[in-house]
Symmetry: C3
């Protein structure tokens, strides 16, 4: 693997899964693989789980880590050819090339701004780093994708799946704030590489970009979608077509115990953080069907798997 | 020791003191005790001494450390059963359970807000973490207590005490800002486990909660209190009864050379940071009687002692 | 070396250069030299290259690093004898003495405020730390000097110089913001210890302090200055005499391909970050004559060299 930007960077998903399983069993099996290797983590946006789990993963491999909050005091220019006489103090061309000299791997976190769809979906911050850096880049969630989360989701489903071809339902849920589509996009991209039956359910107006929803069935009736499901993956996102807008906060879309009863004793999944009694009822989150904590715990496993792949190249 | 939240978690103070003495002599005696163990430090409030000394202590044991400033961008819900449709993005129930999967020990720093006594004295942030985490929690100063500081204070007094039962005076001192009672509360809680003669002196209206002042004598005349003292421990706190209020900034309560002359050549102690010529005169702080720097240095010793206890469980 | 505050702390520049060359060849040659040694980095101002390269350097030596952003929530008093009843919560006297107990080396970053020349040029923050700390201090850029950058500049010139006595031109360049003189001052201070032909060019009104410009020639005609140059070192600074003021933003002072053609195929240098098409034309920065990336890469080499010197004392 040269970079880890999306599932497209994974040459062999089966092999990756196998590696993740062995790391889960024995996270300290190769404590010196990353010795004298340094990972620089650039946080253009806040991070809790990704920050902690990626550091934990790197520590298990003996790596050095230099985390940087770059939101304050470091205003990067991503356009080519501009006259930089305003607020941007440094061009990504220099920044990426310079950091490449101090780092063996660079992780980048950058959110969608939800104002300009074309701009967000260029995923410019991470792609410009890829263009100008000389070391592998890890996507710690970008404007469009969150592959470390999706790999975790896939790994978790594989662990819990009750049958070879489980029914996996990605359901939109209400949220008071406009959120990016990255988690949902990326989840679907990974699901496309599996043989799962994938169903998406959301209010009209919340359709995701077609390249992510192909091979999935969209069912606008949430209860209908839940029938016979083995996994309910809940997530809010803002509108893709009416970009960044909140089209609904209808509490009827909250995941409830009653709706879970329509499923095949489905496991409840969410990438966290999750707003209790808004996205999902307490009774669901506190039930045995919820595997959100295990899912979050797997973040360290899959991050370590990706690091091993990158270090072994 | 399961957690280190207060002196109540210490099963044997004599044994703890003995361990601290041996660590002071040889801080690098067990450089691999914490190998492959990770401590996550969550700072809900700023920290200098605690942050540095706890990290130094952990490094001496070969631990990994992941510090996080959680004040920005991570708004936790601590109430049960709420509908989280406002500004709180994550419930402590998930947060604590998730971080427990990446950490072997969690340290938490959280100040009193000094607005609601009942709320502050529930010490909710740290107690909710204790409730929902699956790993030991260290109190890096909470709304009510600061046991790492108090253990340090006790350890320092033990080092310098001129007689078996020294007279220890906790004296209030003026300060322009309203400060929590945590350091004073916790100091008294630790003093209660000793045989020292403990005297508290402060202006009327500054009485601390009764459970902390029991076994101590309150003397409202500061000069009287200082007579024959072996240790003067100065600290400002805001009113407990008229909660969070500044009742006095009377400069006559500043610790002066003249007042120190009333003591038995007492050592001057303060947890730092200290405001010169407000809390204490320069001449006292710069005299040989002041042991504030040694006291602060001992923070690394006692933090390491606590870590050893937690790692050995 | 006791501290690394300026070139004045370097007893033997030739020996330092030799060490830097050997570290560049083999950065992991002494991976345990800094074992169990801790470097505390105090950032009173933001830092990217210095922060990353200094950490990378320390990691190559097996050191522990505790970086601290001290801009928020830690307001230090640097004056002696004041009554600290305003916003300053701690005196540097205590702060420096306390941190010295947790650190083996302290690095300090602090910018000029560009309001009061006398105050800035006292370089009080770093000098007060030197006064009150008990461990070596490294200047990570102070109000007046940036010796880690200048050592890097000197090391880079030594690597690329086409002849024994190259012509080195320090040229002012336009910038929309008022910047400190530290990089330029420090560069000249290091150049004074070499046999290079050093020429300074800038608009009238941008003269630097005389102690830095002595032994150099000031040429107000930039094109004239560039003639036959082997190195063009570009940097903006605000006025020293009309302190902190922007006297010119004349785009005619930008470094262009055309001007570079007047030189002896000079290498283009800049400490970065650099504003493209304001300080320097894209065509220069993207040409083979530009060595700014290699220059920045050398920051890790020289930082490691300085750390080795301090650790070996």
């Amino acid at each position: 693997m040269k970079n880890f930007l999306s599932i497209k960077d994974v040459p062999d998903l089966g092999q990756l899964l196998k590696l993740a399983n062995s790391i889960k069993k024995n996270p300290l099996g190769t404590p010196n693989l990353g010795k004298h290797k340094t990972m620089v983590l650039l946080f253009f946006n806040p991070s809790l789980r990704t920050r902690l789990s990626t550091q934990k993963a790197a520590l298990n491999l003996g790596m050095n880590i230099i985390p940087m909050n770059v939101s304050q005091g470091w205003n990067l220019e991503f356009e080519d050819g501009t006259t930089m006489n305003l607020d941007k103090a440094e061009h990504v061309k220099e920044a990426a090339a310079v950091i490449s000299q101090y780092a063996d791997i660079i992780g980048i976190r950058t959110f969608a701004e939800l104002e300009n769809k074309v701009l967000d979906y260029e995923d410019r911050v991470i792609n410009q780093f890829v263009k100008y850096a000389n070391v592998p880049i890890i996507n710690l969630e970008s404007a469009v994708l969150h592959p470390l989360q999706s790999f975790t989701d896939y790994f978790t489903i594989e662990t819990y799946k009750p049958k070879e071809r489980p029914k996996v339902v990605l359901t939109w849920a209400p949220h008071p704030k406009a959120l990016p589509q990255a988690v949902a996009n990326s989840f679907l991209e990974w699901m496309q590489k599996t043989k799962y039956e994938v169903v998406i359910t959301h209010p009209k107006g919340y359709e995701l970009a077609a390249n992510f929803t192909k091979n999935s069935t969209i069912v606008y009736n949430q209860k209908k979608a839940f029938e016979g499901a083995d996994f309910i993956y809940a997530k809010n996102w803002s509108s893709y077509h009416d970009y960044g807008k909140i089209k609904s906060t209808d509490p009827n879309w909250m995941i409830t115990k009653e709706k879970m009863n329509l499923t095949n004793q489905a496991k409840f999944m969410h990438c966290l953080p999750v707003r209790r009694n808004v996205v999902v009822e307490n009774t669901v989150l506190d039930s045995k069907q919820s595997i959100v904590i295990e899912q979050a715990g797997n973040r360290a496993v899959t991050a370590q798997t990706v690091l091993v792949e990158l270090l072994n190249c």
